[in-house]
Symmetry: C3
Amino acid sequence: MTDLLPAAVATALARVTPWDDAHFLTGLEPGLEGHNALLELAVAIRSEQQALARSRPLAGRVFAGMFFDPSLRTRASMAVACAKLGAHFLDLQPGTAMWTMEFNDEVVMDGTAAEHVREAAAVLGRYADAVGLRAFPTRGQWERERSQPVHKAFAAHAGVPLVNLEGPFAHPCQGLADALTLRDLFAEPAGKRFVLSWAPHPKQLPVAVPHSALWAAASQGMEVVLTHPEDFDLDREALALADGLARQSGGSLRITHDRDAALDGAHVVYAKSWGALSGPASTLGGHADVIASHSDWRVTEADLRRGAPARFMHCLPVRRGVVVDDAVLDGELSSVLDQADNRVWAQAALLLALLRR
Amino acid sequence: MTDLLPAAVATALARVTPWDDAHFLTGLEPGLEGHNALLELAVAIRSEQQALARSRPLAGRVFAGMFFDPSLRTRASMAVACAKLGAHFLDLQPGTAMWTMEFNDEVVMDGTAAEHVREAAAVLGRYADAVGLRAFPTRGQWERERSQPVHKAFAAHAGVPLVNLEGPFAHPCQGLADALTLRDLFAEPAGKRFVLSWAPHPKQLPVAVPHSALWAAASQGMEVVLTHPEDFDLDREALALADGLARQSGGSLRITHDRDAALDGAHVVYAKSWGALSGPASTLGGHADVIASHSDWRVTEADLRRGAPARFMHCLPVRRGVVVDDAVLDGELSSVLDQADNRVWAQAALLLALLRR
Amino acid sequence: MTDLLPAAVATALARVTPWDDAHFLTGLEPGLEGHNALLELAVAIRSEQQALARSRPLAGRVFAGMFFDPSLRTRASMAVACAKLGAHFLDLQPGTAMWTMEFNDEVVMDGTAAEHVREAAAVLGRYADAVGLRAFPTRGQWERERSQPVHKAFAAHAGVPLVNLEGPFAHPCQGLADALTLRDLFAEPAGKRFVLSWAPHPKQLPVAVPHSALWAAASQGMEVVLTHPEDFDLDREALALADGLARQSGGSLRITHDRDAALDGAHVVYAKSWGALSGPASTLGGHADVIASHSDWRVTEADLRRGAPARFMHCLPVRRGVVVDDAVLDGELSSVLDQADNRVWAQAALLLALLRR
């Protein structure tokens, strides 16, 4: 395959050391060095995209995407990443056109589930060279969900690398793209202040993106500030991981409920809503009061222009007028489209690293 | 890319002058000359399809199709057109596997819509080199729908060419294929009589296809006759556009409620049903009486054999025994399969024109 | 195209004699010799998969898969088979994103069906070089369903080869893969004992797979033993076909209700559940008692280890603890993943044979 790669891509690929078991469940598996090597590979692929479209280095390779939950950007960007490298994207949406699935072991399957993950994952692993999986958590069961049990079951039985396309604990493809965007924004991200700011939202959203965003910024040696109202703590282990990455890369992590203090001196404001981890099972409703009582957490243009203008980041989709003002999204400080665009190149780098032989 | 094209295709492509903003919302954007250059390009691609399948001139390019409403022919023919040229077809069906979408500006998005068209369209425009969109009109709101607001919103924010895969006012891909079919049928379509004849149907169907069919025939200099019962007028502006095209190409447009007179001397009978533009909001039901009272508008073989046999055209899908007799569809005068087939080549021409660099 | 094939593949392909009308509805159309030539082609393709992925012998060709019923393995394996040969897989799921369809002739289509199979099939045949179709039977109408009327209607009107992706009477792609698996398991399958053993299941499943499994084993000259409880007879014609194949290939077919006697000396135990052909229309429920009263038909490890260990086969998806014990599926005697894997190569052979020009 290497002879099909432009020299810059081949060189960058060679610097990505394969990691144990080759899964990508939190995105931290490659280690800090491996993670940053993937980012350099993404830059090389982006530069050489026309040559790659013709040489098709992954021709005949298959990436299967299993979506238990809805997706626009992730499906589309994975399909495009595959297309750019000549791989085939196998788009699977269980629950619509497919069988329901059993995840527990030693169960007598006389109910509605027609297939066990042991067979489903293993068969996909025969058809595909890597398997992607999206499955959101069931609310109200955080202690169980935080270990990403559905993803782990697929990883255990697929026999090929498992890529998390958003799980309960992490959204590592988003994180990789966000780290790439931070590198694009700043010649030297290290030392710049990155503020992850909680935002109001009508739904109690998962914490996968804020976790991955923290790790992305921490991996670049940034001064990471996390700010949210009381009762919206992120997962303790996710915070410990962010702290460890920050120490390793020369950055720092600070957590505060004082939004004003957090925004001072920010180079980046990354807005994201999430529900309390200990909250009730309902994912919709009951949160209207949160919007009303926390409307001052909505990002405004003034928030970005306290000092040197800060860049605005968000993973999308975003609720205008709730999470952030229209003026911010439509203004020159928004990086949200670059974040979405970088999904393609970050994931293409991951695919190339996982599917090389 | 040009070095990947057979000479006949390269020559035909060079004759398609790029048009302002590169959108294809009514299909009239390229102008009469550009429209006919696209048809010649379609013929060249059809002839050289085997060479193109191997050279893959659009390798690495992506066409995204966004289907808010159901589709068989359009999805399939766009997928095939992409495959024939080596492009990737990104098939997106919002409402099924994706987020619902907000189209109004300056709205506080605290309801069910999770994403605004401004972000959705802009992100698709980052992932795809052109975006296709299907969205049918809401009945009973013609004055609003006739401007194709959803398509315009996507076109405004996508940042890449927007191709209408059927909207309220036009179905330009069908129109382009129909014009190609007319050229295939007649060495010289100019002066031949093209009759667009309203037909009964249990649903109040949109007017996009009859509009585009009128423009297709008018663009070929045909003697266009539109016939329908009272109360089924097409849109005033659509008729004006047809009249303008007819004048420009040496043809004519005539409208009559006298179906018998219209069919006399017809070379083509294009059947199509549509609901009254001023009709009630219901799209199904209440139309059974229309079938009963207008059953003489169903196309029979006798209709086609009054003089020299006329060809039968319809965009499909078609209700047998309601719109047209089985004998017509199964007989030698039917061109409906050629129309469907030409969707591939007409759209391939459009893709090549839009995605060349 | 032949110049794009590795020599071993070209040689094997040349040995597959085209058969009348080129459909693949029961899988028996190529005849015994043709069937076995397809298996040798599958082996050649599997060996040369890397070269084929680069040369893409079916570039520009389209295979359309029409799924009226859910599918994981068949959709995925067909998509992968296409990708391995460079063909485009057009994945169509009517009833979700498409129009409902009329199958009866001379009907006035004033109901819900918007399109007749005559047009739908013919249009697909214009877009695709071969069409695949999955449609399960309606229970309680076996005398009508056994002739696979929906498949026959598509085959009659498509104008291109029609591949059965599971119908009421046969699942020939599964059968081809199973025959390939039997050849992989045994240097010489002829004379080995193949036991098709009915199994309990909460649903009254179709008989397509057991029919095709019988034919697969019979075509390899095996000693085929079919065992099931009373009232679960397979179709009379399907049994006659199996008997004919067995005679032609030097094998045999025996049917018994005595499961113990059947399992003695088995080299392969192929488990599969099916409902009684004369049973009521309900496909779910009422079968719980069948599980309870026939739990001794569940395959255990002891069943496989009566003498020389027998291999376990099943088409998947499989109900653990109902059809078969976990220990069997997770043990070294299971061939279920190889069966699933061989779907790709069996179907790739079929595609290459059907789509060569």
